[in-house]
């Protein structure tokens, strides 16, 4: 089921928590809203759920206007951060609840509950109460309860943040598989960029009530539009340098040999940034920088300040004068105090806006 969010605002007093968000979510898409706490992602989700009413704007589900409809009339399911399980009911009764409300008959209900429980590996736990379950098990009950109804839309509000890292990785794949198999349109809210990258068909990076960039994970990773997005995704984050647009469509920065010729689709964007008086930045991912010998042709000499060997990769923190940045390479013999040459391939440099205001339309 497609979801349309049209210029939605949510205001508490003077505070604009959601500031004119518009997006079309396609049927069957796994759509992730990513951002730090306070960016408005959860509030937007809750408005789609019907747990909050927008101050302005419209929300449609499957073409029907649901802006002011009650949650129970929207045919959605939701998984909460603290699971929202009914403490005084068994796992079976928890999962059964939505079916009971819809007045399905007893045998039908039992069948569906058992089916869904099997799918989520809860078969043995059906008679336990939530207080007797581990975090991961509770999470699966919460998912089972949501899926047992075969909803049109599945909303998930940071469902994995209360789990430990290992469990999170495991549950991540399970959820994605489940939901993809069933073809349910999903909106997933998180502040964890790895979750977002791993699971999403598209990511909406949000900040201060706005969707700063909406694109596929790789697109966001390769071509972040603003400093916020560039630094939020990727660890270590993208290196960014204040830059200038030269006549002839070249962008240069303070570092020699870090220069980029704009290709056609970038020209408009760069012009937009400069016209809007936002700062222009030149950015490059740490793993795209190449380590060469000091003084090599086309390389910029840099002083190595710190080397972090992480096993699979190595982080090299360097400085050129006052400018500091990071390189990620394979195993290396470079050590602190060395001077190395750094090559920044022109085609891997990106034009990035310093200010989110530029991208708001």
């Amino acid at each position: 089921m497609a979801i349309n969010i049209d210029t939605v605002y949510k205001q508490f007093g003077a505070l604009k928590v959601v500031n004119g968000v518009s997006v079309d979510i396609k049927d069957g898409e796994f759509f992730v809203m990513l951002g730090p706490s306070g960016c408005g992602k959860t509030t937007t989700l809750r408005m789609v759920a019907g747990l909050e009413l927008p101050t302005a704007g419209r929300i449609s589900i499957d073409g029907a206007d649901m802006t002011y409809a009650e949650p129970r009339h929207r045919d959605i399911a939701m998984a909460f951060q603290d699971y929202g399980l009914y403490p005084n009911m068994t796992v079976f009764k928890n999962i059964e609840f939505p079916l009971k409300i819809r007045k399905l008959d007893v045998r039908e209900r039992a069948r569906k509950v058992e089916d869904t429980a099997e799918k989520l590996g809860l078969g043995e736990l059906l008679q336990r109460k939530p207080s007797q379950l581990s975090g991961g098990q509770r999470q699966r009950v919460s998912l089972a309860r949501a899926l047992v109804r075969n909803p049109k839309v599945f909303l998930m509000d940071e469902p994995l943040s209360n789990l430990d890292a290992k469990l999170r990785a495991v549950m991540r794949t399970e959820i994605k598989k489940l939901v993809t198999n069933l073809g349910i349109t999903t909106i997933y809210v998180t502040h964890d960029q790895i979750e977002a990258m791993a699971m999403a068909d598209r990511i909406a990076v949000m900040s201060r009530g706005n969707m700063v960039q909406v694109a596929s994970p790789l697109e966001i990773y390769d071509r972040p539009k603003t400093r916020f997005v560039a630094e939020f995704i990727g660890s270590p984050p993208m290196n960014l340098f204040p830059a200038q647009l030269k006549a002839g469509g070249t962008v240069t920065c303070i570092l020699p040999n870090f220069a980029h010729s704009l290709c056609d689709d970038e020209r408009a964007f760069a012009a937009q940034i400069v016209d809007g008086n936002g700062g222009l930045l030149l950015g490059i991912r740490p793993e795209h920088l190449i380590v060469a010998k000091a003084g090599a042709q086309g390389a910029t000499d840099a002083l190595v300040e710190l080397v972090e060997p992480l096993g699979q990769t190595t982080n090299i923190y360097v400085s050129v004068g006052d400018v500091r940045f990071v390189i990620v390479t394979d195993r290396t013999t470079v050590k602190a105090g060395d001077t190395i040459g750094v090559v920044a391939p022109s085609e891997l440099l990106r034009v990035v806006a310093n200010d989110d205001a530029v991208v708001r339309h």
């Binding site: 508490f12 505070l15 928590v17 730090p36 706490s37 306070g38 960016c39 408005g40 959860t42 509030t43 809750r46 019907g50 747990l51 909050e52 009413l53 002011y68 409809a69 009650e70 949650p71 502040h191 960029q193 900040s207 201060r208 916020f228 630094e231 939020f232 995704i233 990727g234 660890s235 270590p236 984050p237 923190y317 500091r324 990071v326």
Partner: protein, 315 residues
């Protein structure tokens, strides 16, 4: 190196988003209606009526007609020595009784905070006094405090203390009544403070132990500050109730001897329902009400009570 993912965005307090949902606009009003109706009919209306009566000279023993006399009753009240004596007596009674109860309650809470065998049972005995009907409490203590036949004087005589006059002498009557009040209501403060004590986190105490603080230092610097909200609530509730003490005094001394225990409620009851000077009595009641409000306001201000409550809400 810039930190990824942390932006100075204003934090969203999800607890505050109790927005009205579709079709729920009238629900809160409906839910609050019964309470508001009861409050208005049974609370506000009589209160305002009382204000009106206080401006008249209504006295049923003189018939059902009465006339409006403006603030004459209030003027009379200001010159009524007996009334102000009662007020002062009640304030003194409240202050002493609550202070004693509070101290005793805190000490008992500290004592019973230890996990010893049998303490749970002993604690149960502590609870009972506040459950007993105050009239029954009055009856029992009056029996026990009889100077010639009472068991208290008997027990005291066993250890060599001579004949006390308890509630029958003006000099010791107030103290006796305070004793009864402390006996009955310390458990109330005890429960609240004890529950507070039991729920305090362990780590500050462990930190204090490592820092080398002794029992007294720990109590003054760690326990007491953390107990403040609980102590404030218990004290406020007790102060308001102590001010209204009536039942036990009615049974034990009826306000005597020689008006030694003529607390405000007792005096007002006499004016209103023995003499039936209802106009005057209403005026006095209103002045009493104002005094209570002032006491509460002073208390609330001194202890930052409202802030405590508000903090809890915004969690």
């Amino acid at each position: 190196m810039a930190k990824s993912g942390t932006i100075n965005a204003p934090a969203l307090q999800l607890g505050a988003t109790k927005a009205v949902r579709a079709g729920e606009k009238s629900v809160p009003t409906l839910l609050l209606a019964p309470t508001m109706i009861i409050m208005t009919i049974v609370g506000l209306y009589p209160l305002l009526h009382s204000l009106y009566i206080s401006l008249t000279n209504y006295n049923p023993t003189f018939g059902t007609s009465y006339s409006f006399i403006g603030f004459a009753n209030y003027a009379r009240a200001f010159g009524d020595g007996q009334f102000w004596y009662s007020v002062g007596l009640t304030l003194a009674f409240t202050a002493i009784s609550v202070a004693l109860s509070l101290t005793l309650a805190v000490l008992l809470a500290l004592l019973f905070n230890q996990y010893r065998f049998g303490f749970v049972v002993l604690r149960t005995f502590l609870l009972i006094p506040m459950l007993i009907t105050p009239i029954a409490v009055g009856i029992t203590w009056r029996t026990m405090m009889m100077p010639d036949l009472g068991v208290l004087n008997y027990l005291l005589s066993l250890i060599g203390v001579s004949h006390l006059s308890w509630a029958s002498s003006p000099s010791s009557a107030l103290a006796s009544v305070i004793l009864v009040d402390v006996w009955q209501w310390t458990p109330f403060m005890f429960i609240i403070i004890f529950a507070g004590l039991r729920s305090l986190p362990k780590s500050p105490f462990e930190a204090a132990a490592i820092d080398g603080a002794g029992h007294l230092a720990t109590f003054m610097n760690v326990t007491l500050p953390m107990l403040k909200p609980v102590i404030v609530i218990a004290t406020l509730l007790r102060v308001v109730d102590a001010f209204r003490t009536y039942d036990t005094v009615y049974i034990i001394t009826r306000g005597g001897p020689d008006f030694a225990t003529d607390l405000l409620s007792v005096y007002l009851q006499r004016v209103n329902f023995r003499i039936f000077d209802l106009g005057y009595g209403s005026a006095l009641s209103w002045i009493a009400l104002v005094i209570v409000l002032v006491v509460v306001l002073v208390f609330v201000n001194l202890t930052g009570f409202l802030k405590l409550v508000a903090d809890k809400e915004n969690r």
